[in-house]
């Protein structure tokens, strides 16, 4: 009797269990018959520099070794990268902290084997006055940054990723067509995970979707993050320049013009990468003019004196004298920028500049990293470094979350990532945006103020040290 009862109860329970399972399976009417096959723990959308390094970092994370990680990349697999002789016009200035991150999963070693160029010194000055600031580590031993071509960074990361074996599943030529996110439906019990409909027709469910799909992030739009944008109404012209008469090309130069900053980043002993931010009309003109006129325009932008503000000049001289008396050895030698003699064929390109800031980086089961969450003016070369900082932080947070048994997509640990990164990124964005506004004017009081401010900062070595530390964290 009792046995029969037990058996009946068991059957009842089984039936109920089966019904429930069927119910939940029907929620995801999958094309593939195997239900667990289309299930991933973490999906990274976008296999660029930031997305790729996220995949690398997660794949390298010991805590996540049992998790299935999928990287979705819209472009085709280009095979192994072959280093071309000519330099690419798209470069990044990687900070020492980014180098440490890349080293941690072996991508930096690959980059070193390809090519990179260190920056030992930086000089920033402007066209409206003689004020300038220089940065360098004591004795010029440690690098402030490394100039690496984007292609080389990506190749290094992809090599490191492939060296991990099949730890991370890379799906080339695939992007997400439709997102179904939890919480967007009426009842979040029914849809606890992110459902992705991919362009190759398959479906994927994941506990955590990481959006690393750049400034026009589809993940960000689908998740409905509140986003702030500001069009700078500026265009960045990039090119690869050939320098004359340089001995050691290890200085990054940046001059603020009222139309926008012009920067020369050392690529090799003879070559520098140009990032010239200017008005869209000028940019169009600069792209069209012949090479020798372009070289003249660059040299003029670096050297011309016609925008000098006489009042600011006088005040600055007076200020310098005072500072000289207080800190006798504070005035560093002013170096003259190099002369450009040629521009490489076909290396000129332009892209518009925008400030994008997503007010939140995470919601339940979704996280944004890199340009998907924040994009800023290239004047400090911090954009990609902030993205790599996101990678480092999110990797740490997810490892810690899994160590204490949390679901990688659960909101509590993700919020930790968000607040930590926003505490770092927002001030950087604000100060860069502020600098951009400050230097895009010719209004005399502001010119005077910024000249004195820059000169004062230059004289106070401890502030400079702080800035260098801040930039390298």
């Amino acid at each position: 009797m009792a046995l029969r009862l037990t058996a009946r109860c068991f059957r009842c329970h089984l039936r109920q269990h089966r019904r429930l399972s069927q119910h939940f399976q029907s929620q995801y009417s999958t094309t593939s018959s195997n239900q667990d096959n289309d299930y991933a723990d973490i999906v990274i959308s976008g296999g660029g520099m930031v997305g790729g390094s996220m995949a690398c970092a997660l794949g390298n994370n010991k805590m996540l070794k049992n998790k299935r990680i999928v990287l979705l990349e819209a472009s085709k697999d280009k095979g192994d990268y072959v280093l071309p002789n000519s330099y690419s016009n798209r470069t990044c200035a990687l900070s020492p902290s980014t180098r440490r991150l890349l080293e941690s999963f072996g991508a930096w070693q690959e980059i070193e084997a390809l090519r990179y160029h260190p920056v030992l010194r930086m000089q920033v000055w402007e066209s409206c006055s003689d004020s300038l600031i220089t940065f360098n580590n004591p004795d010029m031993t440690d690098s402030l940054a490394y100039i690496v071509e984007n292609d080389v960074i990506l190749a290094g990361i992809m090599r490191a990723l492939k060296a991990q074996g099949n730890r991370v599943e890379i799906r080339y030529g695939t992007k997400v067509e439709t997102f179904s996110l939890p919480g967007k439906e009426e009842d979040n019990i029914k849809l606890p995970y992110v459902g992705l409909q991919l362009s190759d027709g398959s479906e994927l469910r994941t506990k955590l979707l990481i959006g690393a799909d750049g400034m026009n992030s589809a993940v960000r739009d689908a998740a409905g993050f509140h986003t702030m944008t500001r069009d700078y109404k500026q265009t960045a012209v990039v090119a690869t320049l050939v320098l004359g008469d340089t001995t050691l090309n290890n200085t990054a130069w940046q001059r603020f013009l009222p139309t926008g900053p012009i920067a020369l980043l050392p690529l090799s002993d003879k070559l520098s990468s140009l990032v010239w931010t200017t008005t869209p009309q000028d940019a169009k003109h600069l792209q069209q003019i012949p090479a020798d006129s372009f070289v003249d325009a660059v040299n003029d932008a670096l050297w011309h004196e016609r925008e000098k503000n006489p009042l600011a000049g006088q005040m600055l001289e007076a200020f310098k004298t005072v500072v000289q008396n207080v800190f006798p050895d504070s005035d560093p030698s002013r170096q003259l920028p190099p002369t450009v003699i040629d521009v490489q064929e076909g290396s000129r390109a332009a892209f518009p500049l925008k400030l994008i800031h997503s007010s939140q980086y995470v919601q339940s089961r979704v996280a944004l990293i890199g340009d998907a969450g924040h994009r800023l003016h290239p004047l400090a070369g911090q954009g990609v470094n902030l993205g790599f900082g996101d990678v480092e932080c999110l990797n740490e947070v997810l490892g810690e979350a899994v160590r204490s048994g949390a679901d990688p997509g659960s909101l509590t640990p993700l919020l930790r990532y968000e607040s930590e990164r926003q505490r770092h990124n927002v001030p950087v964005m604000l100060s860069i945006d502020g600098l951009q506004r400050l230097y895009s004017t010719e209004f005399t009081p502001l010119v005077v103020l910024r000249s004195l401010g820059l000169q004062a900062t230059n004289s106070l070595s401890f502030i400079k040290k702080k800035i260098i530390e801040q930039a390298s964290i």
Binding site: N66, G405, A406, L411
Partner: protein, 410 residues
């Protein structure tokens, strides 16, 4: 450089909020006045206030109705209503739970299922029903509590919702349990991703499974015991979504007291997190929980202290002012001081290993460890290894090791 300023501003704010300077005037008032009397007056005012709110608007309930599509189980607030929670469904779930153990595991706990089925085999269904319908006085379930949480259960897994504080409490209690239990393993047995592998953990008052699921992810085999059937359903429904832990958790609709006799000494750890402050008879609850632990095993409690501060912050501020937890969740009379709990545990042959205070910051919505146990605290106690049990084990492990090459522990 500016980020430093932001941090500093944040830090100052944090110190300001968390400093006990704020509470000194409150404490002063409490000491001056007749504390109990004040509690009752204040509590009555608040109760009347909340009752009025719920009768006029009852927005919360209609929201829940809309979500789960039906009216949640509510119980009349009269003393003569007895809840029939432990009926045949309990028996069914227990019976289905234990064959699973038999099938999945080769642990020393195999006898668990057998002893259970044998013990009920000779009983008829009426006898069983009678057995599980205990007189109310012996029950440690409080009916008001159950109806309250059942109404909320569809919101269990919204991390920004009703149970936000419980979700973030995982950041403290999971490492506490993990580290305490990991220390029992040798270095060869330790796996970084599954530190609790091979342990049987009983989660008392598992609710929607907020604590059970992380423990299972760490490798433990978890039995969740819960008095509300609706919560069991919610927890099971949620569990089905995660194939990685689907087979490691079993939720059972029963009470600790019910399984205390039959499953005595079967668990490596019993966790009663945020439960003790809801039970009607803490003494009985603690001794039942203690019975379930094997000699040398652990119990973990997290609960609220019985102090004036815990009344002011835990009930007045958290429930009625900030609505961090829904009003009516806690009853100060049922709170228990750590020393009382330690005393109860000592009577059950447990020695307390640690008592930590826990602070909840309502602004950052995070918990942190603290020396101060005056509001929330966590307690870990270890059962003394029984001498005769040890001797028995020597014989059994020797005979078992012949048939079973890899015993999990001991």
């Amino acid at each position: 450089m500016t980020s430093g300023r932001v941090c500093l501003g944040h830090g100052l704010f944090y110190i300001f909020i968390n400093s006990r300077i704020l509470f000194i005037p409150l404490v002063f008032i409490f000491v001056k006045m007749n504390v109990r009397q004040m509690f009752f007056t204040f509590g009555n005012i608040c109760n009347a206030f909340t009752r009025n709110l719920s009768s006029s608007g009852s927005k919360g309930l209609s929201e829940i109705e809309r979500r789960i599509g039906k009216r949640p189980m509510t119980l009349q607030n009269t003393d003569n209503v007895r809840i029939h929670f432990c009926q045949s469904s309990t028996v069914a779930s227990i019976h289905t739970a234990f064959p699973y153990r038999q099938r999945k595991r080769r642990s020393p706990d195999l006898t668990f299922s057998r002893s259970r089925s044998q013990s009920t085999e000779h009983m008829s269904s009426e006898e069983k029903a009678k057995k599980f319908q205990r007189p109310k006085a012996q029950s440690t379930i409080d009916e008001q509590e159950i109806s309250h949480f059942s109404a909320l259960s569809s919101l269990w897994w919204d991390e920004g919702g009703e149970f936000e504080a419980l979700h973030s409490l995982n950041e403290l209690r999971i490492p506490l349990i993990r580290d305490a239990m990991m220390s029992q393993k040798t270095i060869d047995q330790y796996r970084a991703d599954k530190p609790l592998e091979g342990f049987w953990v009983l989660d008392v008052g598992s609710g929607g499974g907020i604590l059970s699921e992380p423990l299972a992810r760490l490798g433990a085999s978890v039995i969740g015991v819960e008095a509300s059937e609706e919560n069991i359903k919610i927890a099971q429904a949620h569990l089905l979504h995660d194939p990685a832990i689907r087979d490691n958790i079993k939720y059972i609709h029963t009470t600790v007291e019910d399984i205390a006799e039959t499953q005595a000494g079967k668990f490596d750890a019993v966790v009663a997190s945020e439960v003790l402050e809801h039970v009607a008879d803490a003494n009985m609850f603690v001794s039942s929980a203690c019975k379930l632990v094997r000699p040398g095993g652990s119990v973990f409690f997290t609960t609220l202290n019985k102090t004036a501060v815990s009344y002011a912050l835990g009930i007045v501020v958290a429930e009625q002012m900030l609505k961090l937890v829904s009003p009516g969740t806690h009853d100060w009379d049922k709170f228990i001081a750590p020393l009382d709990l330690q005393y109860m545990l000592e009577k059950n042959n447990f020695s307390t290993r640690l008592v930590h205070g826990m602070w909840y910051n309502p602004f950052s919505k995070r918990w942190s460890w603290s020396k101060d146990t005056s509001i929330n605290y966590a307690l870990h106690a270890v059962r003394a290894p029984a001498v005769e049990a040890l001797e028995e084990n020597v014989w059994t492990t020797e005979t078992e090791s012949a048939s079973e090459p890899a015993p999990q522990k001991d």
